[in-house]
Symmetry: C2
Subunit: 352 residues, 2 copies
């Protein structure tokens, strides 16, 4: 069964060993049904005896496909590896890709020249299509790839939403839901620490917050909005500003759990109790949320599902290139924990 050679085995040799032509051997290996059981068995035995593995380059050249897709992540590697988002996304992608025997290739361009490399890499036919995530807004790459006829799927909301396949999480609805929950818990002065305003997720979560307030009939107040940057320290800083500007606030919606850690610290330092004085809801449902003091309520995104959906969209696009771009919107779920427990004094049932 095992091979003990150092030299490459070709299909020709397998065919010879099996006593058939190269064409028949190829048919067996591509599981073409038009082969007799005898021939099939002979080829399979010869292949396994010789330790044959089809040469990827030859196959790719003949078929025009590579059976691989690229996941292009526009994020510094340090962040990439710290962020629990990616293992979940990759698991989702893997679910559908491995079932179709396709490889996932991770590319993390760090610089502008890296991005050019990625374009060349993809255009060179290394992969059959590209999945793009955390794409800076108005980045030229998707249009470039599309102009080369390469299937593309974007994770998140792209700038020109209609031109490309994309799957997004409904950040607006998720955030509005979080605010509604705070309102239902008897909170009335609800602040927010936003994400970066230059990324769609940041924008959408802010919009959701505003819509949530409006839906509850609460007044908009710009002093209740403070910009964060998706970092822990940024969250702490924003929270300190909020406490100065609006000391009477009784709840905060934070656009990411990482920032929420900073928020909790700042509240603790300021002597505010959570959730008695101030309720906090985060976003992302980071695994650490459950371990925080107090355990953090958070909006959970269906990341695995997002991965699965992205992979499906891409495979469809590879298979039928002329299909118009599609958009998939996934819904979130609010994980309620102690950090947003209702105020004890005031009755809960006022709203919702």
């Amino acid at each position: 069964m095992k091979d003990f050679h150092g030299t490459k085995v070709t299909l020709e040799e397998v065919a010879q060993a099996a006593g058939v032509s190269r064409a028949t051997a190829s048919r067996v290996l591509t599981s073409d049904p038009r082969v007799s059981p005898d021939a099939r068995r002979a080829v399979e035995r010869a292949a396994s005896k010789l330790g044959y593995v089809p040469n990827q380059a030859g196959r790719a050249l003949a078929t025009g496909r590579s059976d691989a897709v690229a996941l292009v992540v526009f994020e510094p590697t340090t962040l990439l590896f710290g962020d629990p988002f990616f293992p979940r996304l990759i698991r989702g992608l893997g679910d559908v890709l491995t079932s179709r025997d396709m490889q996932l290739i991770l590319l993390a361009p760090q610089t502008a020249s890296d991005a050019d490399r990625v374009e060349r890499y993809v255009a060179a036919g290394h992969v059959d299509g590209a999945l793009l995530v955390s794409l800076p807004s108005a980045h030229p790459l998707p249009a470039r790839l599309a102009s080369r006829g390469i299937p593309v799927v974007i994770g998140g909301r792209p700038t020109e939403a209609d031109r490309f396949n994309h799957v997004d999480v409904d950040n607006v609805a998720g955030s509005a839901r979080a605010v509604a929950h705070l309102v239902a818990g008897g909170r009335r002065t609800i602040a927010t620490v936003t994400g970066r305003k230059d990324v769609p997720a940041g924008q959408d979560r802010l919009r959701g917050y505003q819509e949530g307030l409006k839906a509850a009939g609460l007044p908009a107040d710009d002093a209740l909005i403070e910009a964060g940057d998706f970092t822990r320290d940024g969250g702490a800083r924003a929270m300190r500003f909020l406490l100065v500007k609006r000391p009477q606030l009784d709840a905060v919606f934070v656009a990411s759990d990482l920032m929420a850690v900073g928020v909790l610290e700042a509240l603790h330092q300021a002597g505010r109790r959570v959730p008695e004085d101030v309720a906090v809801v985060g976003y992302d449902d980071d695994p650490m949320a459950i371990g925080l003091q107090p355990p953090l309520s958070s909006v959970r995104q269906p990341i695995e599902e997002m991965g699965r959906e992205m992979a499906r969209l891409l495979l469809d696009a590879v298979h039928s290139p002329d299909r118009p771009p599609r958009k998939v919107l996934l819904t979130t779920r609010l994980e309620v924990r102690f950090s947003s427990a209702p105020v004890a004094s005031k009755p809960t049932g006022e709203a919702v």
Copy 2:
């Protein structure tokens, strides 16, 4: 300059547009010096005008090389993405790979069948060689790949150390150094929380601890050794056991920073002050070490350098396949912080 077509451009078309033969065009693109300036210019202009990108499959088939290497990580994706080791390793690898215009392909086999996939992937010529890290001991993959004539470099200490190229960090020396530092700080009853005994790093760090004690003339005491598992909770548990078995201990050498977090928690809960009552030194110099209470002394490994060295070894092996396996041992550095400050009462200068 920009292209505006959806169809693939071939070298033939570039050659035609430039008014030269395919051979000359190819020479330009492979930067063969034997081309006249005129022809070179013409080809370059035609290529950029048509947005030409060489087809990888064609090139690979003709050259037998793919200009890519695989980084095979035997680790669950969740751990992979949580571990600060990998971004540092990848940065180091990238340093030398990108300078040679080679791609890094990340493979993270999760199951036994995934490992088979990896073997096939590599054997199919997708990559010119493989870098293997956190390889379970006695895993068959390196031998399998080697028998196929595929260059391999292992990160860490492989089971059959002499058969394969590998680069390792001197865990023994690093651990011994940490113990020496504790001794120099006036500590005399030094415990250790080990890593997993089934991985080389765990074994070596324990050995370094033992050698450090012996070098200082301190007695070996098995009750001062408690097995951890490289997790935070495992560290806390091990520390609690140690406190029961040897309440008089005045220092702990912990085989990883993550476990050290648990150790610090357990010590805090037990009412021991760090470093006044118990000094602690960790391993890995995780970025969080500096943010702990108190800031954690830790053994820093030259991970980036390890990556660079691995890449160099692999490229050498790709270039000259018959070279015998080489071994590179890298040294560590001890980052001294407050968690291992010397005891105030006893004078420091007793040893070293």
